[in-house]
Structures are given as structure tokens and as C-alpha cells.
């Protein structure tokens, strides 16, 4: 039986492929989907006697990532050789960073970042036995186009306490890196790759259990499901009195199975040593200032500002902050509305009604912020009902020149007030038309009011204010 009292302890290792024009240590162009081996040279194929030279833009991008994650930037960092034999690695070592990475400790949200370092990507290999083209041939085909692509590897502390939390945080990280403009962060194409270190321990314990490493899950959904499957496996194993072995696992989303990849003991004997072909990186003041000045307001900061200054709830703030373009529009509408409506109400219109209206037609466009502000103000001041406002919005997204007051007038959507008795008369007629519902409301069935409200709304074409209609029904029924 799985021991559910065991707490999940999860850390992530994220590889971000940088969207520079050229590779990390040579001028071969980056590409995706080209013919094999059209972007290679003596450096990225590891011919004898060549010298790697780091790409300055990749250093800039790494600094931006480090600053966005609140990392300490190393005044001087060096590259190391990570030695291992594999056909996707022609030098038999990967140039990476070891004890002095370019970005040290930082934090994103509540999760501590251990480090973020620069390295080069491996080539892509296709195992022929798997592809079926030459069945069982026991050979692999290697394409070095990807070999040498700049990567930033981000490592977190084991601060995550569940599969859903891990996936949620990984989404925040992706959005943050995406807004920096330094990577495509596309999990399916492999420009964002997430590995998870997973272990469990008795709740309240501060010691770490034996961890396993889940490799290369290519969507957030699979990341979450893979971690869930591994937590379940470990809890079951420990619940039955067994022990967890340190190993690398592959999660197959189709079958839900976890399979062991290779022996950890050998795989981790990398014999790191300083790369003698490269000198140290010591970011100049100019380089640091340039990276710092280019940082946009990032999702975590924007979410916090919307909560604190605009009074949005967290979910709404996060939704807006995840899309800087939409967030910019939202802020423009808030500014235009002024005292006319709460920012919270504007957020509802922008993420709710407007999004739905834009989805309704391919040609639909956002109205000017001032125009949407006029509409929200008209609804807030009860000149137009909420339902009527949605009808106006449908016209605004189809016609960029439309004016709110003019549309309201033309479509006869001005809200019916209670003063002239017109609405009260329609309410009275609706009550008279459905005596059964009226009786139910009188005897305490509050839900029955919906039938009469619906009848009033039909009769008024949505021009009546729902709250006012409710009030009138209750008043006329003597409640």
C-alpha cells in the first residue's frame, strides 16, 4: 500500500535553448528541421586543433535569465569539461560550467534557484533499431546541427512539494524566460526541457530521501503525470518496506510506465576539470547594465503589483501577467476608466467578456482602450445593463470606428430604469404569466426566481439590470 504520509520533495533541472543566431562556441547557424549536418564546422565536429570562442550574445542572454531569477551574478566564472562518451558528443566532453557558474543562487516565486549556468547542447541521434527503417540494425544516425547550441541550465533547490505545484512553477519559469525574449521555450521542439528530481520523506522530516531523476518530459501535463507516477511508485515501494534506488527514469505518457535509463553510478562520474581552451568570463559593468536595463516587468512582479496596487485576486492577476500584451491593454483601459470602475471589474471584462467576444469571430479586434473604458463605465453607472454591454461589445470588436454611446442609442440598449414604471410593468406581466413560479418563490424556493428574471430579460432584450429586476420581483411578491 502506498504510504500517503510521505511528503513529496521535488527539484527541477531546466534546459533552455537560447535563441541566438549562432552556436555557443562557433559561428554555425542555429536551425530547426533542416537537413542533417548542414550546420557544422571543425569546431562543433571536434576536429583536432580547433579553439572554441564563446558567443557574446549567449552570455548576455544568460545574464538576463540570471537577473530575472534574482541570481547572484558571478564577477568571474569559468567553463569546465564534463567528460562522457556518447555519439552525440564528438569531443567526448561537453563544455559546461561546474563550481563557478555565471549565475548563482536566486529565487523565482517561493522556489529557490541553486544556479543557472551556460553549456552547449548535444547533437541529435536517431536509433535505427527504434525507427524501424533498418530494423534491429543496432546502429544510430547522428545529426550535428543541434550540437553546440547554447543552453542555460537552471537548477532549483528541492523546494517543490507536489506534482501540480512543480508543473505550475515550471509554467511560471517558462513565461518568465519567454518574456525575456531569449528562447522560444517550446517543450515539444525541445527548446525547453525539464527534468525532475523526485524523492519522498516522512512529513516533517528535514532529511532528503533517495531521489530518482525523471528525464525530458515534453509537456507540462506529462511533467505532472510523470512526477505523480514516480511519487506513487516510491510511496508504494517504501510502504511495502522496500528502498528507492538512485536511477534515471523515462516516463512513457502513452503507457504511464517508468523505465530505468542507465546506471547512475557510471553516468555521473564525469571527471570535471577546467576547460583549458577557454578563459574566464568576467561580465563588464556595461554588459551587466545592458542586461539589467533590458529586463521587462516579469510575471511574478506584475502579479504582485496587480494584487497589491489594483486589488485583483491572485488568479486574475496571474492570468493577466502571463500575457504581457494583454496586460498592457488592461492597464490602458484601467487608466482610461479612471474612477469609473474598479480595476477588478476592468480585469473581468478584459479576461472574460472581451476574450469571448474576440473568439467569436476571426476578424474581431480589440477596441481602443478608451472605447472599452467607455463601455465599462456605462455598465458600472447602470446606463447599460451587463447583458446589454455584452451586445455592445460584440459590435465594438467588429467595428473599430464604433462609438459606445452611438451603438447604445442605435441598438436601443439603454438600460431601463425603475423610475418610469416601464420595467415594473414588464415584471408584473412576467409574474402574472408564470403563477407557478411566483408561488414557489413565495414559499421560499429562491431558485424559482430565475424563470421570471429570464422572462423579463427576453421581454426587454437584455436592457434591464439583473439586480434591479430581482429587486422588483421580490418587491411585487411582497418579500
Amino acid at each position: 500500500m502506498p504510504d500517503t504520509a510521505l511528503e513529496a520533495v521535488i527539484g527541477l533541472e531546466i534546459h533552455v535553448q537560447l535563441s541566438t543566431r549562432t552556436k555557443m562556441f562557433c559561428g554555425c547557424e542555429l536551425s530547426f528541421g533542416d537537413d542533417p549536418n548542414v550546420h557544422t564546422c571543425p569546431i562543433c565536429l571536434a576536429h583536432p586543433g580547433v579553439l572554441p570562442v564563446p558567443n557574446e550574445e549567449a552570455i548576455r542572454y544568460a545574464l538576463k535569465i540570471g537577473m530575472a531569477l534574482g541570481c547572484e551574478i558571478a564577477p568571474r566564472s569559468i567553463f569546465h569539461r564534463k567528460n562522457y562518451f556518447y555519439p552525440d558528443n564528438p569531443k567526448a566532453y561537453q563544455i559546461s560550467q561546474y563550481d563557478i557558474p555565471i549565475c548563482g543562487a536566486g529565487k523565482l516565486g517561493d522556489i529557490r534557484i541553486t544556479r543557472a549556468h551556460l553549456e552547449e547542447d548535444a547533437a541529435k541521434s536517431i536509433h535505427l533499431g527504434d525507427s524501424g527503417r533498418i530494423h534491429g540494425s543496432g546502429a544510430s544516425l547522428v545529426d550535428f546541427n543541434r550540437g553546440g547550441t547554447p543552453l542555460v541550465e537552471i537548477v532549483t533547490e528541492p523546494d517543490l512539494r507536489g506534482a501540480a505545484e512543480a508543473a505550475e512553477w515550471a509554467r511560471l519559469l517558462r513565461e518568465t524566460v519567454r518574456q525575456l525574449g531569449v528562447s522560444d521555450v517550446n517543450m515539444e521542439e525541445g527548446s525547453l526541457r525539464v527534468d525532475a528530481n523526485v524523492s519522498v520523506r516522512p512529513a516533517g522530516s528535514t532529511e532528503l530521501g533517495t531521489k530518482t531523476e525523471l528525464k525530458n518530459m515534453n509537456s507540462f501535463r506529462f511533467l505532472q503525470r510523470g512526477i505523480e507516477a514516480e511519487l506513487e511508485r516510491q510511496r508504494e515501494l517504501l510502504g511495502a518496506g522496500g528502498t528507492v534506488e538512485q536511477e534515471t527514469l523515462h516516463f512513457d505518457p502513452a503507457s504511464g510506465e517508468l523505465t530505468s535509463l542507465r546506471s547512475k553510478e557510471e553516468a555521473h562520474d564525469y571527471r570535471y576539470f577546467p576547460e583549458p581552451d577557454l578563459v574566464a568570463i568576467a561580465p563588464t559593468e556595461a554588459l551587466l547594465a545592458e542586461a539589467r536595463d533590458s529586463l521587462p516587468e516579469l510575471p511574478a512582479a506584475r502579479t504582485a503589483r496587480y494584487e497589491a496596487e489594483l486589488g485583483l485576486d491572485e488568479a486574475q492577476a496571474r492570468l493577466l501577467a502571463g500575457d504581457p500584451e494583454q496586460a498592457g491593454y488592461f492597464e490602458a483601459v484601467v487608466a482610461a476608466v479612471g474612477e469609473g470602475a474598479e480595476p477588478r471589474v476592468v480585469a473581468n471584462w478584459v479576461t472574460g467578456e472581451l476574450t469571448a467576444a474576440l473568439r467569436a469571430s476571426e476578424d474581431a479586434e480589440r477596441p481602443e482602450p478608451g472605447v472599452l473604458a467607455d463601455l465599462i463605465g456605462a455598465v458600472a453607472s447602470k446606463q447599460v445593463s451587463h447583458a446589454g454591454g455584452k451586445q455592445v461589445l460584440a459590435i465594438l470588436v467588429a467595428d473599430r470606428d464604433a462609438d459606445v454611446a452611438e451603438v447604445v442609442e442605435r441598438e436601443g440598449l439603454a438600460q431601463m430604469g425603475g423610475d418610469d414604471g416601464e420595467l415594473a410593468g414588464i415584471v408584473a406581466a412576467a409574474i402574472a404569466g408564470d403563477p407557478a413560479a411566483a408561488e414557489q418563490i413565495r414559499s421560499g424556493n429562491g431558485k424559482a426566481i430565475g424563470a421570471i428574471v429570464g422572462a423579463v430579460m427576453r421581454e426587454t432584450g437584455g436592457r434591464a439590470d439583473g439586480g434591479e429586476v430581482n429587486r422588483l420581483i421580490r418587491e411585487q411578491l411582497g418579500l
Partner: protein
């Protein structure tokens, strides 16, 4: 490790690389060594460590660790693409090219 005022540790035992360690590193390096070669390697590697151990005996108080003998920093390159090699040239030295790719023995087979 306890260190005295001059930065020296306790007297060190000369490290010896034994047979097992040679075989382990040979395996990591994909080298096949015969018995004589294992003996030779054990001796030569131990000699290198002895030399490092002599350096440890020096007074290194206030000396920064060295990662490189060249006193240069930030030797960088602008992010400008150059002309890559034609694939035929890239593959010229490959013993078994296939469909524009390098064909190699399966790494899975190697792991067994």
C-alpha cells in the same frame, strides 16, 4: 582538514593509484589495457599525483587558485553566422555515412 599557521596540512601520505582505480578510469575512457599497461599506468598516474603533492607542500598563503595560465578574460565572439562546411566535407571522414548523417554503432550495445 587541520591546517597550521603557514597553511600547511599534516604530513601527507604519498597517494598511490591502485589497479582498481586504473581499470575504472580506463572503462570511463573506453580504453582496453592489458595487465602490463595497467601496471605502467598505475605507476605513471601515481607519479603525477606525487608531483601535485609536492606543490601542496609549498606555502600558498594568499595565492589565488589558478584556472588558466593565460591572463585574459572575456575573449568573445559576436553572434554573426559564418559559412558552415558542406555536409559532404563534414561527412568525408565518417566510415559509414547514411542519409547525410553519421552512422555509428548503437550506444545501447556499447553499454552492455
Amino acid at each position: 582538514m587541520a591546517v597550521d599557521a603557514a597553511g600547511r596540512g599534516p604530513p601527507r601520505i604519498v597517494p598511490v593509484i591502485d589497479r582498481e582505480q586504473v581499470l575504472h578510469v580506463a572503462r570511463l575512457s573506453r580504453l582496453r589495457l592489458d595487465d602490463d599497461e595497467v601496471e605502467t599506468m598505475a605507476g605513471e598516474l601515481s607519479g603525477i599525483l606525487e608531483h601535485v603533492d609536492r606543490i601542496r607542500g609549498l606555502d600558498l598563503e594568499g595565492v589565488e587558485p589558478t584556472s588558466h595560465v593565460v591572463h585574459l578574460e572575456n575573449v568573445l565572439r559576436a553572434d554573426v553566422p559564418w559559412q558552415s562546411m558542406p555536409p559532404a566535407v563534414a561527412l568525408a571522414a565518417a566510415p559509414e555515412p547514411f542519409d547525410g548523417a553519421f552512422r555509428v554503432p548503437s550506444p545501447q550495445a556499447d553499454a552492455d
